[in-house]
């Protein structure tokens, strides 16, 4: 375990030394929006009951984050600071609407499962916080890398929760049965309470890894 961690530390440490990849890597691991920053908890807990829902919601959020970061960053010198939050919300809401149409065009069933949560991406504090804290102060390239890292980090975290909850609660991953037929499903994992349990376990794991990493350094 400790050897593996040491290797990981080395791998991430090397990548983090490169300034261009740092913006990307930080969202995946060091500043992961869910496991470190604990942002956007509403979709994290609500939509992570199955792996496919978690993945779809994560990718939808990542897309909105990427597009809004690009637009906010390219318009950063034109937006007066007094109306910046209103402008960001307008931009985010636009990309959320576009995502909503895109998901409807991909699958009606998926849209039915995620429907109400898609609109709620507008108020996901992760997206607004990246627009305000990063994209409004950095170049388009860096904002893109930041959004990609944060978006993929968010998707990864949601998938971590979704996969565990579906596996325990339904005995499958992506609707593919993993456990034998006589497996007794833990229904609680599919219910909202299961979201809290799984999140707590992942946070525990992440913090343990973080403490371990600090000690190694």
């Amino acid at each position: 375990m400790s050897k593996q961690n040491k290797n990981k530390t080395g791998f991430f440490a090397n990548l983090e030394n490169s300034p261009s990849t740092d913006e990307f890597i930080k969202g995946l691991w060091r500043d992961n929006p869910v496991f470190v920053q604990v942002l956007g908890m509403c979709p994290v807990l609500a939509v992570s009951n199955t792996a496919i829902n978690a993945l779809a919601m994560g990718l939808a959020t990542a897309f909105v984050l990427l597009m809004s970061n690009i637009l906010v960053s390219s318009l950063r010198n034109f937006i007066p600071k007094q109306v910046r939050i209103a402008s960001y919300i307008l931009i985010i809401a636009t990309f959320v609407t576009m995502t909503d149409y895109a998901i409807q065009a991909i699958s009606v069933e998926l849209h039915k499962a995620l429907g109400a949560f898609i609109s709620l991406i507008v108020v996901n504090c992760l997206i607004l916080s990246r627009a305000e804290a990063f994209a409004s102060k950095n170049t388009i390239g860096k904002s893109m890398l930041d959004a990609l890292g944060m978006g993929l980090g968010f998707t990864f975290a949601l998938f971590c929760l979704g996969a565990v909850r579906e596996l325990m609660g339904n005995g499958s991953i992506f609707n593919i049965p993993i456990f034998p037929d006589n497996y007794q499903e833990w229904v609680v994992m599919i219910l909202p309470a299961g979201g809290f349990f799984t999140l707590a376990l992942w946070l525990l794991l992440f913090n343990a890894a973080k403490v371990n990493r600090t000690e190694v350094r």
Binding site: P19, A46, L75, F78, I79, S87, Y101, V108, A116, K142
Partner: protein, 225 residues
């Protein structure tokens, strides 16, 4: 870290500039939304039509064939070959021997969050609603969306009484949603605790739609056979 372009501090921005920038962003956003809407519309309509087709087969148990009818301005049903927009359509379901099993009726009305679109199956032989499906809903996940998932609620629509009165022009009893646990009669819908508004909305939509459509369907029953 890298060099940043901080937001101008203490810069005096005129109202006009703020207005222009908001209007400009609004225009860009409007353009993007319209482009996406136009680009995805044909596929969304095709997928929705396929979903409707599946739903029709769900609300009329045992059907294998479908025919589409339109309600004209004289309250008569006419068979049509393809769906028409802005028309009150109903879908008749038949078995392999072309025996009429039921009629699927789309209905809509205001829910808690947005307009609810539902589809229910009416069996003229049993004079009852025999199937129910929510086509489109934006009700609160975990609460209002129980109208789609709650098994006890969905059980209301296995045989919901919509029998006609003696003159065949009105229903004997209008469909209503009652408080959870208070259902006594077959024309009542047992509501959901925690989804009161949404389950009442379903009751209102069903009540109004069956009150209007069931007598009309019954009057034109020969057209469907």
């Amino acid at each position: 870290m890298s060099k940043k372009n901080p937001i101008q501090k203490n810069a005096q921005t005129g109202s006009l500039k703020m207005l222009w920038s908001m209007a400009g962003i609004g225009l860009i956003c409007a353009f993007l939304i319209v482009m996406t809407y136009e680009g995805t519309l044909p596929r969304i309509e095709r997928l929705k039509a396929e979903a409707l087709e599946k739903a029709i087969f769900k609300v009329i148990p045992g059907m294998t064939k479908k025919r589409t009818f339109k309600l004209d301005e004289n309250n008569n049903f006419i068979e049509i070959s393809s769906d028409e927009k802005d028309a009150q359509l109903v879908y008749a379901g038949y078995d392999d021997n072309d025996k009429l099993l039921g009629i699927a009726v789309p209905a809509s009305g205001m829910g808690f969050a947005d307009i609810l679109h539902i589809l229910y199956g009416y069996d003229p032989n049993k004079q009852a609603v025999v199937g129910f499906y929510v086509l489109e809903s934006k009700e609160t996940p975990g609460l209002g969306d129980k109208i789609e998932k709650d098994e006890n609620f969905l059980a209301n629509f296995a045989a919901l009484d919509v029998a006609l009165s003696d003159g065949n022009t009105t229903l004997k009893n209008k469909v209503v949603t009652v408080k959870h646990g208070a259902k006594k009669n077959n024309w009542e819908i047992d509501g959901i605790t925690g989804a009161t508004i949404s389950s009442r909305a379903i009751g209102n939509i069903m009540g109004e739609s069956t009150e209007q459509m069931v007598p009309l369907i019954f009057k034109n029953i020969e057209v469907f056979k």
